[in-house]
Amino acid sequence: MNREITCIICPIGCRATVVLRGENIVSINNLECPRGKPYIINEIKAPVRDFFSIVKIEGASIPVLPIRTTGPIPKEKMLDCMVELAKIVVKAPIKIGNIIVENFCNLGVDVISTKDLDAIQ
């Protein structure tokens, strides 16, 4: 089976063709430099993405608080994580870097606040 993956390591954006036998990579073709190879291998074996969104906040000047995880998470877990995140409500005041959920969905990363929001009366 062949898979096409666009490398994002540099602006060239090589469209790599990966030949797969089952889960094993047979060859990676059409890359213009060696830097793309680790990225492509990762994209096949265990692709990860930055995770960021908003959660509900009570008692602040705005109804939602922007958050992110402290590191990337597996790509296929993103939508499940959104479902978990929808259950969370935090209360103002909150500071940048405050941990909202530790070890989010057992992925080894924390959900943190990315904005200071004061409590309003």
Partner: protein, 411 residues
């Protein structure tokens, strides 16, 4: 009339870095005038990551990135006014501003930094036929509604234009449970950064229709469907290629325009290619002591570059106040030649190191960028969506008056 050293118009990424640098350089009385209700500008609604990779060597989101500058503004005791609209600036550096606490404010500054940013092109600028139902938003408005105010703007969404904000919103819509039916792009290549095409569209199998446009909008109260069509080389819709897409929301991500209403009123010279003021390597405009930085000069793709341009403007505004501003007698004008949309700054002294920002017109591979006949830089690839930044060292240029920048295939 209140006297100040440096007045900064706009408290976003460009304005705050200008204010900080002006203060650090020695201007005592720096005042930031911000129209919004908090400092930070557009970054407060950019909750995605990827900010600061160059400036801080860290991967931050928008609110985190700008919070660092807001913190420094407080630490340095820089004065600012929120909810304040600047109505008029005159060449002798008098400002008229207004807010609901002070009423009309008359200020006399020694130097001014313009940092008003840019605005989105609205539907009216596109002339798409059809009805005028609810459910049509610019990408930035949808971003603000969703990620600051907490509303999901629709459930079945079509995005016109593949600019970065549109791509980023496509991913956010999917993550929040909406369906993105398609991203429709007039050009034969995407308008946004390459990594955004991969991580926002390909990751979620969102179709990207290149060389397509929207030819009709239908719906009475709420948007019901849009009609897409393929376009020819002259961007004219090809009859017979029309397809209807059922949707309740249309997002417009079709370009940004530097916000230069104040600059025009002031009479400074505007470059029709960038939509912003002509500037030199100090970010000084055609009017002495008046500087400009960030997206008001030209639309940047990375905030890190906006911050750097703000620092240059702020530092030199402070030097005007301190009477240490270096003014060169001769200057070299840079103009855009083959496959170059624009070059910023448009004027350089050639005597100091300077970063040139070059926006190409069309994507090309294996190119040589020529600055006059003297300098050639090689690039494996150039794209309109990714600004090329070249560093010229001091005294690298012998030419005295005029240089043309061109991008051509390497032989």
């Amino acid at each position: 009339m209140q006297n100040i050293d440096v007045a900064i118009i706009g408290g976003g990424a460009a304005g705050l870095s200008a204010a900080i640098e002006a203060k650090k350089t020695g201007a005592e009385n720096v005042l930031v005038l911000e129209r919004g209700e908090e400092l930070g500008g557009i970054l407060q609604q950019c909750i995605h990551t990827g900010f600061g990779l160059h400036y801080f060597k860290e991967n931050l989101n928008g609110p985190e990135y700008i919070s660092r500058f807001i913190k420094t503004v407080h630490e340095l005791g820089i004065d600012y006014k929120l909810n304040t609209m600047v109505l008029q600036i005159s060449p002798n550096k008098k400002l008229l501003a207004m807010n609901s606490v002070d009423g009309p404010l008359r200020l006399q500054a020694k130097a001014i930094v313009l940092a008003m940013g840019c605005r989105e092109k609205p539907r009216g600028a596109l002339a798409i036929p059809g009805t005028r139902p609810a459910g049509i938003f610019t990408a930035g408005t949808a971003q603000r509604l969703m990620d600051v105010e907490g509303y999901l703007v629709g459930k079945k969404i079509v995005i016109l234009g593949s600019g970065d904000i549109g791509l980023i919103m496509a991913r956010r819509f999917v993550m929040e449970g909406a369906k993105v039916e398609a991203v429709v792009e007039l050009m034969p290549y995407p308008g946004g950064l390459h990594r955004n095409v991969v991580q926002c569209l390909e990751d979620f199998q969102i179709p990207l229709l290149l060389q397509h446009t929207i030819t009709n909008i239908q719906g009475r109260d709420r948007l019901k469907r849009v009609t897409t069509a393929k376009v020819d080389k002259r961007f004219t819709p090809i009859p017979g290629t029309e397809k209807n897409i059922e949707c309740d929301t249309l997002i417009l991500s079709v370009g940004l325009i530097p916000e230069n209403e104040l600059s025009r009123g002031l009479g400074i010279l505007i470059d029709t290619k960038t939509g912003g003021p002509f500037v030199d390597e100090h970010m000084e405009t055609s009017e002495r002591g008046l500087f400009a930085c960030g997206n008001v000069v030209h639309v940047h793709d990375l905030v890190d570059h906006v911050t750097w341009s703000g620092e240059v403007a702020g530092k030199n505004a402070a030097r005007v106040v301190l009477d240490t501003f270096p003014r060169y007698k001769e200057r070299i004008s840079l103009s855009a030649g083959r496959n170059v949309q624009y070059v910023v700054p448009q004027f350089i002294s050639g005597k100091k190191p300077v970063n040139l920002s070059i926006r190409v017109k069309r994507p090309a591979r294996r190119v040589e960028i020529n600055i006059g006949n003297e300098l050639a830089f090689h690039k494996p690839v150039v794209r309109p969506s990714e600004m090329v930044v070249l560093t010229l060292r001091e005294n690298q240029i012998m030419e005295k008056t005029k240089l043309t920048v061109i991008v051509r295939k390497r032989r």
